[in-house]
Subunit: 115 residues, 2 copies
DNA sequence: CATCGTTATTCATTATTAAGCATAACGATA
DNA sequence: TATCGTTATGCTTAATAATGAATAACGATG
């Protein structure tokens, strides 16, 4: 036994079939879009490239048959990005999932103490 | 709702402090070492470079204060790689962990059907 | 119908990671 | 003490991923 603590960690995500659908990163991006109404601003706040953010949203919208975000270009403010009801639902689901996963990890971590 | 099935997936591993200690890949490597008694043969069977395999074992042995594998060079067969009792214990722990994680994933996957 | 800030997309560049080559060190055995 | 297959380790190259510049398209508004 060492003085260093062993800890169980992990990542979870949701697949649609065999293709990655959403994970923590995309959920965070969805939340930022909801907050800011702009994909560009959301990507800036998350310190990721707009290119990557757009690609993720685009993929997310295509993988499943329901869009999570609707993007409009042009108009008064140049364009907007808005979350759909389905997008909101996915956020809720993933956050609950994440919460349960944290409990799982804590429980498993406790079990491997004193190895 | 789409005809494509949503499924919760994920990965887990064990950290020693903030540093990655073991995950599925390293566990698989440990099992191969136990089976073959050779790091080189184990790396070949896993289709990974010996360089990488050695690096992983080396790191694993250093991160915690107990070695999981003892490597000997020279001798009749050129050298041997043998698992320590601690190494065996870690395999057991991680496999049990993995089993429980699979149950967790299945349970969570069922919960998100019919979204 | 010009403006503006956004979405949409390509492409060259950079950064990060992995792979593979080369070679020394080792020590039981014959 | 020569041999052999392994461990030990640096270094070069290849593969992959991420970044960022550049630019077109868009449409409500004034």
């Amino acid at each position: 036994m060492s003085n260093i603590e062993l800890k169980v960690e992990g990542r979870i995500w949701i697949n649609a079939g065999t293709i990655n659908f959403v994970g923590d990163g995309k959920i965070h991006l969805l939340e930022k879009i909801k907050e800011l109404g702009s994909l560009r601003k959301a990507s800036l706040e998350m310190k990721m490239s707009y290119r990557q953010a757009w690609g993720q949203i685009n993929k997310m919208n295509l993988v499943y048959n329901k869009p999570l975000v609707v993007l409009h270009r042009g108009g008064k403010d140049g364009g907007i990005a808005e979350l759909t009801a389905f997008g909101e639902k996915i956020i809720t689901i993933q956050k609950e999932l994440h919460r349960e996963f944290e409990l799982f990890l804590d429980f498993q971590s406790k079990k491997i103490q004193n190895v």
